[in-house]
């Protein structure tokens, strides 16, 4: 590849870190690594790759669990890790703020910030905390980068209240696969006549949308496949595109004021039905809580998850406990120098829980939020760690419409019991989005778990749900009808849907160089 200004290396050792991700199932190979330090260098790398028809895979924080950042088809890797500053003067109303090794441009009055793609969510949070502001999306893995979370439309526990990443992006700058820069704003003219238009480097780019009936997005929280819908805004093409359509080089996000304090409650229930009943009531607002403005999150842990967590947290109650629901509610100080919510609110929450026969509860005030975060994070981390040393994780990310939730849970239990592989379930129950994780002890068990998983994915789609609500699909494949592997996304959209994505991809990436292998198989792009 021709000369570029960005730093580059072909050192195998340096490259090694970029050949896998947190899934521990995908391994790739690459000839070179590019480390652009600013937007111009990044555009330069992409342009050069495009000109020499060289495959290029984008790397952010490397925390994906779908292989999406793994260069399975070879070529080169471009990592945005050195893009720690936006590299430009603050526009009026913005000021530059430093912290944790990054620079952002902050406009506190307008509650918005312009941030570089490499910034991690934890660093951004640290900087914003000082101004009492919050960037709401909170995927569990806070070492994920802004670029990566935009590319995967990440979401987290508080997406229950705040929605996914998509809802918080005001403006994006992307380097298109051709190396041209495009800038996309929220609220820009929507798609007309089956085409969505935007401008890049002074020319108008048109992207064909699939005809109706060919690509119906599920009506749940969703991170599977491109966002393609009649009347869509062009910015939505790039959010959740898994790097297929461009490299995110700068992001302007919306912010909110930090909730004053949050009360976290872990409620332990004697039966799953009690837990589900409580969640139903919370989601449908039938609890009629006068003192609780809203729930920020509603998370579920099944008995097996609690057993798993007990190693690190031995005090998790065991007797008569079948499941737990963790939820957060905002509150403000009711009396000077009192760390707790006022008694009316506490009583109301206690009563609501009692109605659903809660066995016991843990309550944590705002000041100890870090411990809560660690507590919650300890489960996926322990699971990932457990499976990394065994036969790899088979974890689901499906979500279904609320009315179908209990049926889906029965399917999870039924299939999993039948396949006889150890499993556990936890996740964002408020969004009807539970992670089912199999913990196979050996390859034979892994095979059985995969079969069960395939059937469950189909069940979810049959119920009007999605196969991936937050992690994306990346390079994941699944066992098809005939026992052959098919792209995971095919379960949701069928071959026609994949072709629709391929058409969009080809319109923006005629040479098929960027992040090839994500969502649709490479063959479909030629």
């Amino acid at each position: 590849m021709k000369e570029v200004t960005a730093a580059r290396t072909a050192d195998a050792e340096r490259l090694r870190n970029y050949l896998r991700d947190e899934s521990s199932t995908f391994y790739g190979h690459a000839d070179e690594l590019f480390l652009p330090a600013n937007q111009a260098e990044l555009a330069d790398v992409v342009r050069a790759a495009n000109e020499s028809h060289m495959l290029l895979t984008v790397s952010g924080g490397g925390t994906s669990i779908t292989g999406s950042r793994v260069p399975t088809n070879g070529g080169a890797v471009v990592s945005v890790e050195r893009m720690t500053s936006t590299g430009r003067e603050p526009p009026t109303g913005f000021k530059e703020v430093h912290g944790a090794g990054f620079d952002i441009l902050l406009n506190a009055a307008d509650k918005t910030a312009i941030v570089p793609p490499a910034i991690t969510l934890s660093a951004l949070d640290e900087i914003l905390a000082r101004s009492g502001l919050l960037y709401p999306p909170d995927p569990t893995e806070m070492s994920a980068t802004m670029g990566g979370t935009v590319a995967t439309n990440a979401s987290g526990a508080r997406s229950f209240h705040y929605g996914p990443t998509r809802a918080w992006i005001r403006r994006l700058r992307v380097v298109l696969p051709t190396g041209e820069m495009a800038e996309l704003h929220r609220g820009e003219p929507a798609a007309k006549k089956g085409t969505v238009h935007f401008t890049a480097a002074g020319r108008t780019v048109g992207v064909p949308l699939p005809p109706s009936g060919e690509y119906d997005m599920p009506r749940t929280k969703n991170a599977a496949g491109l966002y393609l819908a009649p009347g869509m805004e062009p910015i939505d093409l790039f959010i959740g595109c898994e790097g297929l359509l461009g490299v995110v080089s700068e992001v302007q996000v919306d912010l909110v004021e930090r909730p004053d304090q949050t009360l976290t409650v872990v409620a332990y229930f004697g039966s799953c039905d009690d837990a589900f009943g409580f969640v139903d009531a919370a989601v449908s607002d039938s609890l009629k809580l006068a003192e609780v403005p809203h729930f920020l999150s509603l998370e579920y842990f099944d008995r097996r998850s609690l057993d798993f967590m007990r190693e690190a947290h031995p005090h998790i109650p065991k007797k008569n406990v079948a499941a737990a629901v963790l939820f957060e509610v905002p509150y403000s100080e009711f009396e000077r120098h009192n760390p707790y919510p006022d008694t009316c609110m506490l009583s109301e929450v206690e009563e609501a829980l009692a109605k659903h026969r809660v066995v016991s509860n843990w309550a944590v005030p705002g000041a100890r939020r870090e411990e809560v975060r660690l507590f919650r994070h300890s489960l996926p981390e322990a699971v990932n760690d457990f499976v990394r040393r065994r036969s790899g994780k088979i974890g689901s990310d499906m979500a279904v419409p609320h009315e179908q939730f209990r049926q889906m849970m029965r399917a999870y239990e039924g299939e999993s019991a039948a396949c006889g592989v150890r499993f556990l379930m936890f996740g964002h129950i408020g969004d009807d989005h539970i992670h089912l994780n199999y913990l196979p002890e050996n390859d034979e068990e892994a095979e059985r778990a995969k079969m069960a998983y395939s059937r469950l994915a189909k069940t979810a789609v049959g119920l009007g749900g999605t196969i991936s609500a937050e992690h994306g699909v990346g390079k994941k494949c699944i066992l098809g009808e005939n026992g052959r592997l098919i792209p995971y996304l095919q379960v949701l959209y069928g071959v026609r849907g994949l072709r629709a994505i391929a058409r969009v991809k080809k319109a923006l990436d005629p040479n098929g160089i960027l992040n090839v292998g994500n969502m649709v198989p490479p063959e479909m792009l030629t």
Binding site: A100, Y340, N361, W362
Partner: protein
């Protein structure tokens, strides 16, 4: 029996926000620090709750002296299970040093007992120290003002319906203490488990409904001259930053010609910063001002306290003896050393060689069991007799609790854990004092340094200026005293009839493996080292040489990549999904410094990286980078340490 829990509202030094470092306004802006419940006090509360669970009718009352905001932690204490709480808050309490604080607390406890809030028979539980001052002085001084025994360093608790047994650390291992009647004070160490992070909703409700008693000065019977600023016996003269942390990484090229000289220099600097605790040591480097002739403010000798290691004097005894001798030369006074125990020829020779002109042996005190009150009272009696101007005590496990008990007996100031001492004049406000002791120590977890003096209005009152010094911080100098007189001092008879019992357990020969978090120096291997053979042949000798060079255990850590490769078990992994460490010195050998690894070690005081890639991420936050091949550099450093001596 009831329990008083001391709870301090302290800055959260584990989470110092970046903007608390405001160069314009001084080293660290305390008002920008988040405040929290002293973690060791939380551990003490947990112990109290465990005891209460086995007793009927026992009450736990939390007591805090602090700003109105301290009500927060008292409310928390109630939610966790304390029965009631008292907040001592009054502008006239402000500015109190440890002795004024301990005095106020002890008076408040007396008033609580008089008011029936607690029983006449009570115990005081608290953390051994708090992270802002790190002095460990208030508990011992409080015990002294309550005239009760102190059981410091509790690391385990055995409690049933009949008895309470504390397992306490001491200098030979452990002692098991079964306390008798109160009042007594017991202090929790980091080895005690913390409270859980949660309570339940009903507990929060109960806390809201329980009134925290707020007491001002007039609610407590006390002597106005012994509280707040006026009651303080020490004054903070100056606060400064130890060293600008992580300005830029200092790079050392292995290919450079002067590598041998520069790497030796680096090792020497690491050693100094390790033992002085401040990276680079400003107070150390400071030239000592010449002493101006004239009449000194204080009179009397400079006295050093001993420390035993087994049957011999511990090396730190020579540091205190040398320091006392050095001060004595400046002040043109005598220098003496005090040893508890029977007369011993060899100790005298050793101390004389380090400048002691007099040695006092204190007899009639139990030495096997560590009874703080008894030893402190004996030392206080001797000091009253000698009327020295300076008393220097080693800041060891024993010295750190003995010294404050003595200081409360004598009503004198005490500065803990000094890393530098010097003599200079004090000219401020209406006081002009010639040749007083300037005592410099780290505070706020080593994030700031403070220089402190003790100025008493009546210098002739026989109150010494007293300091404990960090082992390894002060130089040992052999400067023999011409003559040395020896005197045996019989401790006054002391009734110790508290009905307690103490059983000493020496530490078993083989120590249990300590956790990585507990090491002050860590060598961390990454993929640049990679395999078992290199660890055995290159890293191990380096680690062992470091242990000798710095005279401290050195832990072995690794990156996750090493764990993934099956080279070391997960217990060695540093980082987000491993352990979080904060050693004084971290060596990264072939570690790239990925963000998840960084999260586990970025708060190390000094970070040294050995990596062949000058652009490795770790060099963005390391203090020193040695650029080159691990296999060639590390053996050279190992060899160099041999040459520089231990």
């Amino acid at each position: 029996m009831d329990i008083v829990l001391l709870a301090k509202f302290v800055p959260d030094i584990d989470r110092i926000p970046a903007d608390a470092w405001d160069r314009e306004r001084g080293p660290l802006v305390r008002s920008r620090l988040e405040m929290a419940f002293n973690p060791l006090d939380r551990a003490a509360l947990r112990m109290a709750l465990e005891i209460k669970a086995r007793r009927t009718g026992m009450r736990i009352v939390a007591l805090s002296m602090g700003p109105p905001g301290a009500k927060k932690i008292l409310t928390e204490a109630i939610a966790y299970g304390a029965d009631s709480a008292v907040l001592l808050t009054d502008r006239r309490f402000a500015g109190a040093d440890t002795i004024a604080t301990a005095y106020t607390l002890s008076r408040a406890i007396k008033s609580m007992s008089a008011a029936g809030i607690i029983d006449a028979d009570f115990a005081v539980l608290c953390g051994m120290q708090s992270p802002d001052g790190d002095t460990a002085q208030v508990p011992a001084q409080t015990a002294c003002f309550l005239d009760g025994p102190l059981y410091p360093y509790v690391c385990g608790l055995d409690v049933d319906e009949e008895k309470i047994e504390f397992k306490c650390l001491n200098s030979v291992g452990f002692q098991r203490v079964v306390p008798g009647r109160g009042p007594f004070v017991a202090t929790a160490t980091r080895l005690c488990p913390d409270l859980p992070f949660y309570v339940d909703l009903a507990a929060m409700r109960r806390a809201n409904e329980t009134q925290v008693l707020v007491w001002g000065k007039d609610d407590v019977e006390l002597d106005n001259r012994r509280i707040g600023l006026e009651g303080s016996r020490t004054r903070v003269i100056e606060i400064f930053e130890p060293q600008r942390k992580h300005q830029a990484c200092e790079v050392l090229e292995a290919e450079g010609e002067d590598f041998a000289a520069r790497s030796a220099e680096l090792l020497r600097r690491l050693k100094t910063s390790f033992s002085t605790s401040e990276a680079g040591g400003r107070a150390q480097a400071e030239a000592e001002p010449a002493v101006v002739p004239g009449r000194n403010y204080y009179t009397g000798d400079c006295v050093a306290l001993w420390e035993f290691a087994g049957r011999r004097l511990a090396p730190v005894s020579f540091e205190t003896a040398s320091a006392a001798a050095r001060m004595a030369r400046k002040l043109r006074c005598g220098s003496a050393a005090v040893v508890i125990g029977p007369e011993d020829r060899r100790a005298v020779e050793d101390l004389q060689a380090h400048g002691a002109g007099k040695v006092y042996f204190v007899e009639g005190v139990e030495t096997e069991k560590f009874r703080v009150r008894q030893q402190a009272k004996a030392i206080a009696a001797l000091v009253r007799k000698l009327r020295p101007q300076v008393v220097i005590v080693p800041a060891t496990l024993t010295g750190r609790v003995l010294a404050p008990y003595v200081s409360a007996q004598l009503d004198c100031g005490l500065t803990a854990d000094c890393s530098a001492l010097h003599v200079a004049d004090f000219n401020r406000a209406h006081v002009r004092a010639k040749n007083v002791l300037y005592q410099t120590r780290p505070a706020l977890g080593g994030n700031i340094m403070a220089t402190i003096v003790s100025i008493y209005e009546q210098p002739g009152g026989g109150r010494p200026q007293m300091a404990t010094v960090r082992p390894g911080a002060l130089p040992v100098r052999k400067a023999p005293a011409e003559t040395c007189t020896v005197e045996v001092f019989r401790a006054p008879e002391l009734r110790e009839d508290f009905g307690d019992s103490i059983r000493v357990e020496r530490r078993a020969e083989e120590e249990k493996e300590i956790d990585l978090e507990d090491f002050e120096v860590i060598v961390c291997v990454g993929m640049g080292v990679g395999d078992r053979q290199t660890i055995a042949e290159v890293v191990e000798p380096f680690r062992a040489a470091l242990e000798r060079f710095l005279a401290t255990p050195v832990g072995l850590g690794c990156s996750r990549a090493i764990v993934d490769a099956g080279v070391l078990p997960h217990s060695h992994q540093i980082g987000q999904t491993g352990v979080v460490v904060k050693p004084k010195i971290y060596f990264g050998l072939g570690v790239s410094g990925a963000i998840q690894h960084k999260l586990g070690m970025e708060n190390s005081r000094t970070i040294v990286s050995i990596n062949r890639d000058p652009a490795a991420s770790i060099h963005g936050f390391a203090d020193h980078a040695v650029v080159g091949e691990v296999n060639s550099i590390v053996p050279r450093l190992t060899k160099a340490m041999g040459g520089l001596g231990g």
